[in-house]
Symmetry: C2
Subunit: 109 residues, 2 copies
DNA sequence: TCGATATTTCCAGTATATTAAAACTATGGA
DNA sequence: TCCATAGTTTTAATATACTGGAAATATCGA
């Protein structure tokens, strides 16, 4: 993942409601949740939530699929994985304890 | 690290110049770099850079210390470590490949 | 003490993000 | 086909963030 896309992903998570939505979806797993359910659980009006879901979606952090009248949103694990990878490789220092030490970590070239 | 502080840290990194500054400081190590040098390297006027450094500092991602006329900025590894910890525990799913698998990771309670 | 250098604070202008109502679109059931 | 439900898009208001100049502050050397 490049810096530009990372800035987008970081920005998507850098907002209280959106971070809460994303955490909820991560906990929920691949089944996802319909937009209305998220709206109710987070306590944000549907129209505002829709805006936030679009941000998360654009940043590649959630996916959506229609199911009848509902649209199910789910955390996009590969998207989050890409962000974590970028942070580990570019914003952490070997041995500084940012990352679980060594395990599977590629070195900066 | 709680959600509020995480939002602040994510926001601090969710900006092109600031992310670039932070990456530069991570590469530089604990010695840090004077503000003017960062300004020159990143190509951002001193006054703008000062604003960005204040953001990073407020978010706990950089530290500063005076050295003669200069002020040296350095990456604050524990700050970044806290952020990574929050993301691993709250925004990643066990087995979804977000994290280097298992290594040292505490489970959600 | 004075001048040069390094950086920050103040400030105003501009740009981007957030919020939520109103209007719109899509779906499923009667 | 018509209605109710689920969501989104549009739009406008408001709020927050970014930018960089001018002025202020701190330090060093002469």
């Amino acid at each position: 993942m490049d810096a530009k896309r990372s800035v987008a992903a970081l920005g998507a998570l850098a907002q209280e409601s959106r971070l809460e939505v994303f955490r909820l979806l991560v906990r929920r797993g691949p089944a996802g949740l319909p937009a209305g359910e998220i709206s109710r659980r987070i306590g944000v009006p549907p129209t505002t939530l829709s805006f936030h879901l679009a941000q998360l979606s654009h940043a590649g952090l959630v996916t959506s699929r229609r199911n009848g009248r509902s649209i199910l949103y789910a955390a996009n694990y590969p998207g989050m994985q890409d962000l974590m990878g970028f942070l580990l490789e570019n914003c952490c220092q070997e041995g500084a304890g940012c990352a679980p030490p060594e395990a599977g970590r590629r070195r900066r070239r």
